[in-house]
């Protein structure tokens, strides 16, 4: 069933629970006998713990236990490669080594939170620093960065004739631009801090902990504690923001589970806002060099994009491969090694940083050519996918409407009023500039399991072990269920957020809401489960003696819009189940993806148009309006989809103008590890944002026609802002964030 109603806007099914505070997040769980753990973290970046004096802490009021490397809770190392890359390969407390500033080196458990926090402050630590130099300067670490071993972030050397080196291809181009783009490390710090409540009953563990994938969370906890994954029950109905920061399991949850086992009491651990900067992962710093070669009429001839990151799967160089047609590509990412807190996945890894560099470079090329930036992009729009290492053959795009994004966006925004020359428009003492950029996000969907259950009361339960990170996934699940079954949304009772719901333990679906694949994954899983549940319902209808369809051939009974019919007979499923005195009929199925999904290339697209105002005296740049046009297939719920796009744009506003984790090169300490000094956009920074969805369901991808969009607006929006700042001021800032000091 095709869902194509971009105007459809459904209120969140859990909206009332959230605004009234009835929604229970992990740390809201109070269990009888619960005790509280507080983390102790290192105050040096590299060395060995010589001693930890915990006597005062142990003697403090209410203290139950103090765990340190000398007296640890045992945690086993992770097995899954994604967890080794995006999480901590070395679990805390398992040795005396300090590998970064702010590393967990202890856990104090006490009767109350305040007692635990107080006792944690009494722990005295001495260190033996290592003699070798600290690697906390990204600029220095970047010099020693290396191309990683397969399979991650592999280089692409794509040459028109198979032989011409990229520098020769660039030299042969009529026009070239070349520049270096840098961006600082950035922090997750989602609204809900990483926190967990863990409780053992016999050999079974229940963990309340915010996660993007309840199944992967259960698996990782089970592995770390050396128990069977089926004995770990993760409960995570509400998550206060994921963004990639809750894909892998961070130590606070593992320590809560291990301490609960050791103490035989429920344990709660809540990470403080300041600790989140170091004990959970962040986004790597980047440096990138982009060189574009084009003909005088604006056709790209060669693209050389080289980048360095400090995270194996943060590969910034692949964006061009989704956007522009160039006969020569040279895309190389090198990975630096540093003594800093762990880097992890963060919204649109690779694409967030890469799009900033590429889309600024395209703006610079447009300026060099004297061509409108929209025209330059339109002229180079890709028509078939590149034969990159991951996809050995060129595939046609299933549904690509990037050009329409440009056209519709330009019209809605009033792009024709833009003056190409910088500093041409003023409003009083403010310089006014316009900028644009493209956004792209390769589509992904996982093979998940789902359950659909018809109930005698006329409702349907739809469930999968996925997560709603605050995105509206639960509401989307209800809509997908309703559309698959042809019934109203309010008759569907959706469930997500525990590992007891249907799981496909094979493959990536365990990650849950990751890679902007939450809705696409649920779409296929629900579609398949609904089909099977309808089959089961019909089988029940012909088999049960009390059923009006008893004894008929299943092929003669049809399901439509919640009603079974055969000839003149017609019965809603609720009445059927009431008549047969059956509580429910269900099917739990692993999704079957469409065959077409292998025959095309799939991605979601966006075009951004924005205006900034820059104070000509003080250099303060403020976003004043922005139009975003999105091509992401069918839109399941316009209300929450818009929120996703708006959230990504606000995050991009932070990327462009504000966010900057200040790492001290000589100490490895993050100097602004709090939300007063680490600047995120506040409401006053955010103007009204115009978001428009195109309506092109992509039914080659799944029956619902949806592609992902969660990470999309983190790709390219920052470049649009930077390009607008250039248009306003004539100053090209290539080192983010664009702060006043860079514009005066």
């Amino acid at each position: 069933m095709v869902t194509s109603s971009p105007g459809r806007s459904v209120d969140r099914v859990d909206g009332a629970a959230k605004v009234t505070g009835a929604a229970k997040y992990a740390a809201d769980n109070r269990l009888p006998g619960i005790v509280h753990g507080h983390l102790v973290t290192s105050t040096i970046a590299r060395g060995t713990i010589r001693s930890m004096d915990v006597r005062a802490a142990r003697a403090a009021a209410g203290v139950i236990a103090v765990y340190t490397p000398a007296d640890p809770l045992r945690l086993l190392p992770p097995q899954n490669p994604i967890i080794q890359i995006a999480g901590e390969a070395r679990r805390p407390l398992q040795d005396r080594e300090v590998r970064y500033h702010g590393q967990i080196i202890g856990l104090v458990v006490a009767e109350t939170f305040e007692q635990a926090r107080d006792a944690a402050a009494l722990v005295r630590v001495t260190y033996r620093p290592h003699g070798d130099p600290l690697r906390a300067s990204f600029a220095e670490a970047a010099r020693d960065a290396v191309i990683p071993d397969p399979p991650w972030s592999q280089p692409v050397y794509f040459r028109a004739d198979g032989v011409t080196p990229i520098d020769q291809a660039l030299a042969n181009s009529q026009v070239t631009v070349s520049a270096t783009y840098d961006q600082p490390p950035k922090q997750h710090n989602a609204m809900e801090p990483h926190s967990a409540v863990a409780m053992w009953e016999g050999g079974r563990l229940t963990v309340y902990s915010g996660t993007q994938g309840p199944a992967l969370h259960a698996l990782e906890i089970a592995e770390a504690l050396g128990v069977d994954k089926r004995n770990v029950h993760v409960i995570s109905p509400y998550v206060g923001g994921g963004f990639g920061g809750k894909v892998v399991t961070w130590a606070p949850t593992l320590l809560a589970a291990a301490a609960a086992r050791a103490l035989g009491r429920p344990v709660k651990v809540v990470t403080t806002r300041e600790q989140l900067f170091t004990v959970t992962g962040h986004r790597t710093e980047f440096t990138q060099q982009v060189t574009l070669g084009a003909s005088r009429d604006g056709r790209l001839n060669a693209v050389k994009h080289e980048g360095v990151s400090n995270m194996l799967i943060e590969n910034p160089t692949r964006v061009v491969g989704e956007l522009y047609d160039s006969p020569n590509l040279h895309l190389v990412t090198r990975i630096a090694t540093m003594d800093v807190p762990k880097t992890t996945i963060m919204r649109a890894p690779g694409y967030e940083a890469g799009s900033f560099a590429l889309e600024c470079a395209m703006d610079e090329m447009a300026g060099e050519l004297g061509m409108d930036p929209v025209e330059l992009r339109t002229k180079n729009d890709l028509t078939t996918s590149y034969p990159l290492p991951e996809a050995s053959e060129r595939l046609p795009f299933s549904s690509r409407h990037l050009k329409e994004c440009y056209q519709v966006g330009a019209r809605r925004f009033g792009w024709s009023r833009r003056r190409a020359e910088p500093r041409a428009v003023t409003d009083g003492d403010r310089l006014v500039g316009m900028g644009m950029a493209s956004g792209v996000l390769p589509a992904s969907q996982f093979v998940a399991a789902a359950r659909v259950r018809f109930r005698a009361n006329g409702t349907v339960n739809v469930a999968s072990a996925n997560a709603d990170l605050g995105t509206g996934a639960l509401t989307a699940l209800a809509i997908l269920g309703a559309d698959s079954l042809g019934i109203p949304v309010d008759r569907v009772k959706p469930a997500l957020g525990t590992s007891l719901l249907p799981v496909n333990w094979e493959g990536d679906a365990m990650m849950g809401a990751a890679g902007s694949a939450g809705t696409t994954t649920l779409a296929s899983a629900v579609h398949t489960a609904a089909r099977d549940a309808i089959k089961a319902l019909i089988a029940h209808a012909v088999a049960h003696e009390a059923s009006p369809f008893h004894g008929m051939d299943t092929e003669d009974v049809h399901y439509e819009r919640g009603v079974l019919t055969a000839g003149a007979k017609s019965t809603p499923f609720g009445r059927l189940l009431t008549t047969t005195r059956t509580g429910g009929i269900e099917a739990t199925t692993v999704a079957e993806l469409k065959e077409e999904a292998d025959r095309y290339a799939f991605a979601s697209y966006a075009a951004y148009f924005c205006e900034v105002r820059v104070d000509r005296w003080t250099g303060e740049a403020r976003l004043s309006r922005m139009t975003t046009v999105v091509d992401a297939g069918a839109i399941v719920n316009a209300k929450t989809a818009r929120s996703q796009i708006v959230g990504g744009i606000i995050m991009s506003l932070g990327q462009a103008l504000l966010e900057d984790a200040r790492l001290e090169a000589d100490t490895g300490r993050i100097a602004n590890a709090n939300l007063a000094d680490y600047l995120l956009p506040v409401n006053a920074d955010v103007p009204p944002l115009d978001v428009h969805f195109l309506d092109h369901p992509d039914t080659n991808y799944n029956h619902a026609g949806v592609r992902g969009l969660g990470e999309l607006s983190s790709v390219g929006a920052a470049a649009a802002i930077a390009n607008a700042v250039y248009n306003a001021t004539g100053v090209r800032v290539r080192q983010l964030p664009i702060t006043p000091d860079k514009l005066i």
Partner: protein
Amino acid sequence: MRPITFTALSTVREALERPAGGSAYLAGGTTLIDLMKLEVMTPSHVLDIRRLPLRGIRRQSDTLVIGAMEHMSDVADHELVTGAYPVLAEALVQSASPQIRNMATIGGNLLQRTRCGYFRDTTTPCNKRAPGSGCPAIDGENRMHAIFGTSDACVATHPSDLAVALVALEASVLLRSRSGERSVRLDDFYRLPGSTPHQENQLLPGELVMGVSVPALSWARRSTYVKVRDRRSYEFALTSAAVAVDVKHGLIADARVAVGGVGTKPWRLSGVERALKGRPMRQDTFESAVARAADGARPLSHNGFKPALLRRTIVRALVKLAG
């Protein structure tokens, strides 16, 4: 646990009779509670003065008197402030967040502690918090730090916007102790760090801030506060300027200029005031008058932009007043 006593006081006399050792007055709490949580301030006795009768925003003859316990939000909105002293109202509404302005008091605002990250992190040295321990900011993260009034011991910026506006207006702080009452010009009230950065002002042990008096300045109606910051709200100043001008027949008869975000205390720029006097109220005047505004500044490794930004900030304020 760090035990504290908490005493709610109801009269000024009670407040002054309390022993001073290890005690701290609690007004709005937006500094004290914050720094107690960080263990930067560790008083043994917290004296709650929220019920003290230190309220009122009134005119006494020509002087505006503001009680120490008035909330920032109430002062910002008050008719005696918005009309006669726009620079005060603007400095207040550009401070902190609405929630904080609803809690924080005028007295507390003037005594708020620096936002220097090393001062606030007890795992690092800081001469202001732990005298003699050192100053990591001088060679560390110092983008937000001061360029005026610094010493080898401390480069921490004074954080208050209100204080900058009050220094421009030549306001005084009213102090009371058991031995009586005194009034100290706010400009003199704050001390430079020198070798004793932990001594931030002239307040004596057992002395209480009663209020602030702002002398009449008829031409302060033409005043403004420009605050330059990375984000639009809820952020401390990179640079700021409190400026008032007395313009007669197109010429600047008199001017007040004080700046923030750049000094270890609010920084009055008398030289800029002199350079403006007698000159036409025009952009070329402004630009030449600020040419030496940052003379004597000592920029640090991350805030080399501050002298230029400061000059532009003052011009911005003057352009606004001219417009």
